[in-house]
Amino acid sequence: MEIFWLLPILNIAACVLTFFFARSLAKGKAHLFTVPVVGFSWLVALFATGQVISGHEVVSQSVEWFDFGAGSLRMGVHIDGFAVVMMVVVTSISLAMQVYSISYMRGEVRYITYFAIVAFFTAGMMILVTADNLFLAIFGWEIMGLCSYMLIGHYHEDIANSGAAIKAFLTTRTGDLGLLIGAIICFWMVGTFDIEAINLAAFEGEFTGHMIEVAAIALFIGVIGKSAQFPLHTWLPDAMAGPTPVSSLIHAATMVVAGVYLVARLYPVFVEAFDVAQATGLRSVHLVALVGAVTALVGAFLALVQWDLKKILAYSTISQLGYMIFGLGVGAWGAAVFHLFTHAFFKALLFLGSGSVIHATHTQDIREMGGLRKVMPRTYWTWIVGTLALCGVAPAAGFFSKDEILAGAWHNSYQWVWILGVVGAFMTAFYMFRATHLTFHGEYKGHGHPHESDNYITGVLISLAIPSALLGFIGLPGQLNRFDRWFEPEIIHEVVEKYGMVKEEITSETYLLALVSLAVVGLGIGLATMLFLPKWRDSWVPGGLHSGWTRRAPLSYGRTLLENKLYLDALYGTITLWIRDDLSRASYWVNQKIIDRVVDFAGTASLALGRGAYLFDQEGLDGFYDGLGVGANRSGRALRSIQTGQVQQYAGVLIVAATLFGIFFILVN
């Protein structure tokens, strides 16, 4: 663990070397520089995990950085279990997607730049999660923003892609103004940017007045931007314009969870500011829980109406990030971070799997897919593992992590959040299986010749499927919870203890909640299968079972019953269809036409305002100054008429003036 500080530097070095030497030394094979470095980092992270589990001390190293008057800064790392977990996430997913990219990005334009920036991004995330002070953390945060911009806009020849990159950067930057202000407030309250110090001060109530709330709100605005929470989530679906491996790294597993990380790392600040632990009635509707829950639902609803496979996953990510955030908001720290951990793996798996599919079918539209199960078995089975994990089907990882969050919500008296979370779980299962059925089952509806992807790609998919399936067992509830025990930082532990936010024993309540979750998920899967599994879809059209012998008594009663049943089915069908079609389309419409319009309007308004300001500058202000010059000119010209050039006139003036002077002097004296 002591060499963690070296890892970001190595990745940055890899980036720089790739930029300068990949073409000359490695014939353009940029990955030869970056993959070994990230692989090494991954091994170090795994080793450190072992160290943490066996009780290694927290590592805190720093060097003097600079002194700016009101305080001084040190550049340092603070490696505790939480940081190690995050490092594992970063290095694993980065390694996976880089290996994947060797095949996926082969022959693509700017291959070298791609790998260099990915390495730089990895370094940025590493800096964020190991930083011991907010200032350095902001460095990592913004570096990732830069890399995200460059990678989303990788295919910038198409202006839509560069537009998406700008949208992503600007939306997160807008959130960042909250981050900066929050950091500034924390500094002035505590006297330092050091995270441990800030947490301690927050826990012990040393922030003056309402400043802690202001700071928490400000920081959370940054989180809303970076982690694509409602209402600043609109950049994430557009960010799918980048290459798919990028989406798996940045927009599923690492950058977007930076906000979640921030809340988790500065948890005492948020707990104290929003009274997370004292949830009673209306007081439980606080910013973090509210935003997280709304996001979870909005993401899920919007995923329903997408036909683009990547956009489905994007909205799914938004929804899952909502889960993580509200998990933190209801006091389930361990559960939320655990979900972050597992989500990274299965979401990356799903994205890379979608990449495999897209690569094979040359389209992202699921209406042009179908039947891929037969031609791409490895992609298919890893996809199923990922989907089951995402939907929260036991014993895949997602079940334990998501369920822990819901259980936490229930336990800490956030029942309304629990309800919304369960609805979200239903929707998640529903839309994921909709996608799965349309993509992999039935008959192929496209025009290409899809075939299984090569070993780089499928190898990575399989490697990610294993943790997606098995990681759940670290985070079992109650006393079996290894995750909390190993990775929860000291100060968080104190907060949790103080407020009793985690349930220690497994009771029947636990089983009941889990059962409800599973049931809901099963319902979702079932409904989706009924509606979308191609070979069953046709048999549910009402009236498809007509035949004569049921019309005559006494079977007419049976028939009516059947028909009743059918009516019920029709009713359910109508409701389901109404949710699937009208309600979700309505919310998507609101999303696109109203919220996104505001964002776009902000852009056009700024442009118009800019033009207006410039016009004022040129005509108004500058005109005034020019007017001064013109005025000087004119008055000069007006006075010219005195100069006639006539000598006698001059003489006359002289004489008259002299006479007057003379008279004046005589009179005075």
């Binding site: 950085w65 700016f68 008057g69 830069l146 103004l177 300001a613």
Partner: protein
Amino acid sequence: MEWFEDSALSIATFVPFIGALIMLVIPKEKEDWLKGFALAVSLTSLAVGIGILFQYDYGLSGLQFEVNVPWISAINTRYHVGIDGISLPLYALTLGIVVLCILYSWHHFPEPHNPKMFLILLLILETGMLGTFVALDLILFFVFFEIVLLPMYFLIGIWGGANRKYASIKFFLFTLFGSAFMLVSFIAMYFLSQPHTFDIVTLTEQGLDIARSTGIWVFTGLFLGFAIKVPMWPFHTWLPDAHTEAPTVGSVVLAAVLLKLGTYGFVRIGLPILPEAAATWAPWIGLLAVIGIIYGSLCCLAQTDFKRLIAFSSVGHMGFVMLGIATLTPTGINAAIFGMVAHGVVTGMLFFLAGSMHERYHTRDIPRLGGMINSIPRLAGVLVLISFASLGLPALAGFPGEFTSMLAAFEPAPGLDAAAFRVFLIVAAVGTVLTAGYMLYMLQRVAQGPIPSEWEGRRFHDINSFEYASWTPLIILTVALGVFPGIIFNVTNETVAPLFTGIFG
């Protein structure tokens, strides 16, 4: 090394001027002699400057390399020069920038081709700038301050763009107008001091025993002189024209150094000698500063001329510098000086890039440009890097100054309205978003995208060796300042902290 202590500053400051005089006798046909000589002269100054950097004691807070001899005793003004943590970074920046400018111009002298006059004017300009930063006597300061105007006027007026006559006269008269008031204030300070003195150090130490309203009037004169130079809103309108029409090297020097003369004047003269008046003015300065930030960014969004866009971005960046100064705290002033150096490096670099782009495309019109990443990838890469530095990305030069300015704004000096400054803080933060907006918008149109049909098939040469030579130090500095802000902060804080703690409020 006594002689070095005594004469280093004078040598470094006046060598360019003497070099210019010598160059007058070199015939103008011998261009290589002229260029080589000019480079040698500026390198000599730079070498002396590096000597100063090495000999400077970074642990001391007072003036070093001080020289104080009588000059014009009839008006009681002395030749008093010295350097401390406030002026050292700016002094070094000036020395470096001029060398880089001469290197850059080696094969790229603007039309009408007259390297002799061009270089002579540049060297005289250098002396003026250097002298301003080390002068410690008000009249001496004023002389150097004004020496800067004439070479710049000619540089813009003769070698500038299409609208150069208008731009050069506007620059000259506008700045002179402010300087006139500044001189009045200087004279007022002379007569208001007991005993009468023009010496800045003495004035700072003993202060002026005057009524508050008198101080405000005197400060107003100073404010006009310096604010026009910064430039602060609404006195900034000379800047876009001057920057756009000036030749590349002129724009670089203008952005990198000349703008700093104004802010330096605030820090050196305005704030220390008239702290009460400064405290009264501070909220207004802060207000104008943040208006400048937002206004500059908005106007940038509307620009189609690349150089004009960078010019307006300067208005925005100097807004951050002035916000830092307006907080009247050591943190804020440290931030301001950092911002000055960072802006000099980054925006100077941007103007170099603009010049190179103009030289290749023969246009500055953004709608006509495009696809640079595909046609000249290295130049585009540098443009992207420097643009991100300009928009204040952490780990690059722009961020520490901007962030520390905002940090200082949260807790201004006691006696100042903290609520107002916190509002300024929020507005400045919004400004960072707008800055990102126009920079990315510009990059999208200029660097990204396909190559426009107008330039299809044209092969542009990527960065050549002279450009590499003149840009590499700036690029390295951009990254270095971002990652190790201590390079500047550790130097300035030694001087700023004792000087500015406790004198306000």
